[in-house]
């Protein structure tokens, strides 16, 4: 049976069982969500005003940047058309919430409250405001399971932002650590280098931040250097995440708002 599962024959059975299990997950999640809600409800007026002011300021900042981004994107498109290169891909996104449920302690997985009913598909990537989080591996009608990039069974094609060097970021198991696989000892990496997705695997859209290099160990006796990376996404502290559909050519992405039209 275990072998059978590798061939994905049991996906439909898992989907049915997931639907049956979903009420249990909701029941576990509910008190925690209620607690959060109460804490928010009773937080003092003063704090809310302060937070509001901060958010307003932030919004203003982001708005100005967005204007600039729109300009840049228009310019980018113009230059690309000049170069006659492939069309820019637009991405559809959807906001999903994590359910606070614990799963197998040996792998890094999370449960989302959006499923095939909302159009979620296996293989979609998951990002937050800071970077890439993981990808969807199982989908049920009302919920879906996602694998985080730190799972020991997960590898992610990345590119060094400074040197352009491509490599694979492999999960190691601990919460906040990735490793770059098969980098030779003389590879051009430095501590503090920023890694972004390269988009080569076809799963993840290109250009999203993945993490920063925090440690390099070059062993002379070994063919490869050990490079540790700290993910930039806040993997264990997020409640809302963005689901990105795998990049596809969208014709109507002429205006910037098309970018976020599907965000709830």
């Amino acid at each position: 049976m275990t072998v059978d599962h590798r061939a994905q024959h049991l996906e439909s059975l898992r989907s049915v069982l997931s639907t049956l299990v979903y009420p249990i997950q909701i029941a576990v999640d509910l008190p925690i969500q209620a607690g959060n809600w109460l804490a928010e409800y009773f937080s003092s007026r003063h704090r809310l005003i302060a937070e509001n002011a901060r958010l307003r300021e932030n919004q203003f900042l982001l708005d100005t940047r967005l204007e600039k981004l729109a300009d840049l994107e228009a310019e980018n498109r113009r230059l690309r058309s000049l170069l006659d290169s492939s069309a820019k891909v637009g991405e559809r996104v959807l906001v999903a919430e994590l359910l606070s449920v614990d799963m197998d302690p040996y792998s890094r997985r999370i449960v989302l409250n959006k499923g095939s009913r909302d159009g979620v598909e296996v293989g979609q990537s998951l990002i937050d405001s800071n970077g890439v989080m993981g990808q969807v591996v199982h989908v049920a009608p009302f919920s879906s399971n996602a694998l985080l990039i730190t799972d020991p069974g997960h590898a992610l094609p990345v590119q060094n932002h400074r040197s352009g060097l491509r490599s694979l970021a492999v999960g190691t198991g601990p919460v906040n650590q990735l490793e770059l696989a098969h980098l030779p000892n003389n590879a051009d990496v430095r501590i503090g280098d920023v890694l972004v997705t390269s988009g080569l695997g076809g799963r993840f859209p290109a250009g999203y931040p993945v993490g920063r290099i925090v440690g390099i160990e070059r062993n002379r006796g070994r063919p490869f250097a050990t490079v540790t990376v700290q993910p930039s996404a806040r993997l264990e502290r997020n409640r809302e995440v963005l689901l990105v559909w795998p990049s596809q050519l969208t014709e109507e992405s002429d205006t910037l708002p098309a970018y976020v039209e599907d965000a709830e």
């Binding site: 069982l17 576990v28 069974g153």
Partner: protein
């Protein structure tokens, strides 16, 4: 007939609670110390109500646990079916033990359960900590008296078996 039905209701509800406790979020350091709730409840019912529960119940429950934990389908099912078989096989002997001695046999059973799961996890190439072999069985053993008392009250209230 209705007694049988209310018995099954009580058993199924206790399993639902066990599944909820399994999914309850805990801080990362406590992840390895989580008692095997479902296995504990299954062992109790196999011992106290062997006509109601058995290998099939364990296997079905394991499938639910697999989906809940996102592991390979069949991993927990196999482990729980074997635990249910062993518990069922020895229920006459263990039932008359004093409670601490039952705890020791529970340690053995949960260890077996944990070892099976860790082997399957290991075969898939996931790194596992050696501490995981004994941490969960240990906590399960220490919790057994309370689980036993609570479930015994449930059993008497609903007159299961």
């Amino acid at each position: 007939m209705s007694a049988v039905r209310s018995g099954y209701t009580a058993i199924v509800l206790s399993f639902v609670v066990a599944l909820m406790l399994t999914a309850l979020p805990m801080p990362a350091w406590a992840a390895l110390w989580r008692p095997a709730w479902v296995a504990l409840v299954l062992i109790y019912w196999c011992m106290a109500a062997p006509t109601y529960t058995g290998v099939v119940m364990g296997w079905t429950l394991g499938l639910f646990l697999d989906v809940l934990a996102g592991t390979l389908l069949g991993q927990h099912a196999l482990a729980l079916a074997i635990v249910a078989f062993v518990a069922h096989r020895f229920h006459r002997q263990v039932r008359v033990f004093p409670i601490w001695q039952q705890g020791v046999s529970v340690f053995g059973l949960v260890f077996l359960y944990q070892a099976l799961i860790l082997w399957i996890t290991g075969i898939q190439g996931m790194p596992i900590l050696a501490a995981a072999y004994w941490s969960s069985p240990l906590v399960s053993m220490l919790l057994w008296p309370w689980v036993f008392i609570v479930l015994r009250d449930v059993r008497r209230r609903y007159r299961v078996a």
